[in-house]
Structure formats: C-alpha cells, structure tokens
Amino acid sequence: MDLTPKVKFLGMTFDVTLMIGSVVSALIVLLLVFLLTRKLSVRPGGRQNVMEYVIDFVSGITGMMLEKKESARYLSFALTTFLFILVANLLGVVVMVTATAHGPIPSLGITAADLKLTDSVSWFKSPTSDINVTVAMAGAIFLYSHFAGIAKSPLGYLQHYVKPFWWMLPIHIIDEVSKPATHALRLWANIFAGEVLILILREGTFYFTGIPLFAWMGFSVFVGCIQAYIFTVLAMVYIAQKVGEE
C-alpha cells in the first residue's frame, strides 16, 4: 500500500501516478495498433495476422451478445476497452516504480499523517489497481448503455423496467445499481490484490522473493488477461441488454 503523489487543480484532486499510468498504457496501445496495421494487404502476413487474430477474438465477444449488424457498430469500442485494460493490467505486473519520501511534501499532497502508514511513494503502477479508474470506466459504460437503449427506442427502454410484471420495478432498479458497482469492483479488486501481494513478497526475505514471487507474477499475468476479457464481455452484455431487445 503505497502513497501516490496528488496535485490539486481547480478544486479537484488529480492522482499523478494514475495519469502517468493511463497515458503510458494508452500510448502503448496506440503504438502497438499503429505498427501492426502498416502495409495492409489482401494476403496477410506476419504483423497483420496478429491484429486480425485480435480483432477476430473481440468480434467473437460482440457477436456472442449482439446481432451481426449491431455487433459491427460496437466492435471498435470493445476492441479499445479490451486492449487498454489488458495493457494496463500487464504493465503493473512488470513495471512498478516506487520512491521513498523522507519527509512531508505538501506540493505533492503527501502529509505527515500519510507518512505514519508508509513512506514509500508509488510513481508508476497499474492504473486499473485504483478504484477511481475502474469506477470511471464502469460508469462510462453504464451511461453509454442507457444512452444507447434510449436512442434505439425510448418507449421500449421505459417498458423493459416493468417487464414481465409491474411489481418487478424495484428489482430492476436494484439490478441497474448493482451492475456498474460489481463491474468496477471486479476489475479493481483482482488487480489490487495481485499488486499488493507482489509488493509484500518483494519486500520479504530471500525465501519469499524467489520462486513464490515469480509464481505469483505468472498468476497475475493470467488474472490480468482473464479480467480484461471479462470486463469486455460484461460491458457488451450490459449494452446488449439495453439494445438487443425490441
């Protein structure tokens, strides 16, 4: 559990570590996709094959939930979500930059009360291991799914709250609230727990830092891939629930 440098701007608190992490992962995704889509040809080879495999994989997710015509519309959204979360999850396993604070730093929001807990300051970690990032992503998907549902048929959107019986309205409302909450917590908890265990193992004795650390890092890579996939699948399920039914 490290501290993070925070900057106050216009009355809002910005977490510098998360901004660095998000920008770096977004740039890596941009660079990766840019390099993999140069010199496209009808007969794909090498790099183009990799990108086509990824797009096939993601279009499998969207095709599972939506009809063919609809799924093509949401393919780029699902691909962006999947690649960003995958890169963000995997970055935190490999790269972690921490520094030691020798005293309170008011300009970075590190106070003496914080230093009683720990004195290590994190400068680079997985952005998805902070709850603010995942809540923002899940909230955006929540708003987008409702917007897409209203845009498709306003009457059908209102009607699906009282289906199949009118007294099911409270259940539907609880469902709508719990969906983004679990969506965000699922991704955050998995990556956060993995990262904390890596930190604990790293600061332990020699017997901890050897094989257990490498075993847990391998498992973290696996968990990161699975959670990126699940986040995308659930985002598509939530959108399909609003868009799919007439």
Binding site: M1, L117, T182, L185, R186, W188, A189, N190, F192, A193, V196, I226, Q227, Y229, I230, V233
Partner: protein, 74 residues
C-alpha cells in the same frame, strides 16, 4: 494489536474459504465434463476460465477490502 487486524484477517480468511469452495465446485464439474466428453475439452476450458473469472471476483473483492482494513486505509 488492534481490532482492525482481526477484522482484516477474518475478511481475507472467508474470502479464501469462499474462493476455495467455488473454484472446487467449478473445476470438479469441468473435470466431470471432460471425463464424459473428452472431445469437448477445448470449448469447456475456455468456458470454465470465464466462469472462474466471474466466480473469483466476489471473494477477491472481499480480500481487497480486507487488505485495506488490515493496513488501516479505511
């Protein structure tokens, strides 16, 4: 020793217990499935991994909050 340490320990312990039971049920059914139909192993593996991610989330949420309580963040 403060009570927060005990609370965090209990949260992590029950999370681990629940994850153990859930994953045990999941993978025992997966093994039963491939014992009955060995040719379905490929599809069943992918499906069981998705189910693993869905099942494991709730215990891991409890463990993450347990860690926060244990270190005195909340």
């Amino acid at each position: 020793m403060s009570l927060a340490v005990l609370a965090g320990g209990i949260m992590i312990a029950f999370g681990a217990l629940a994850a153990g039971i859930g994953n045990g049920v999941l993978f025992s059914r997966y093994l039963e499935g491939i014992a009955r139909q060995p040719e379905a192993q490929g599809t069943l593996f992918g499906q069981s991994m998705i189910a693993l991610g869905l099942v494991e989330a709730l215990p891991v949420i409890s463990i993450a909050f347990g860690i926060l309580v244990l270190f005195g963040i909340i």
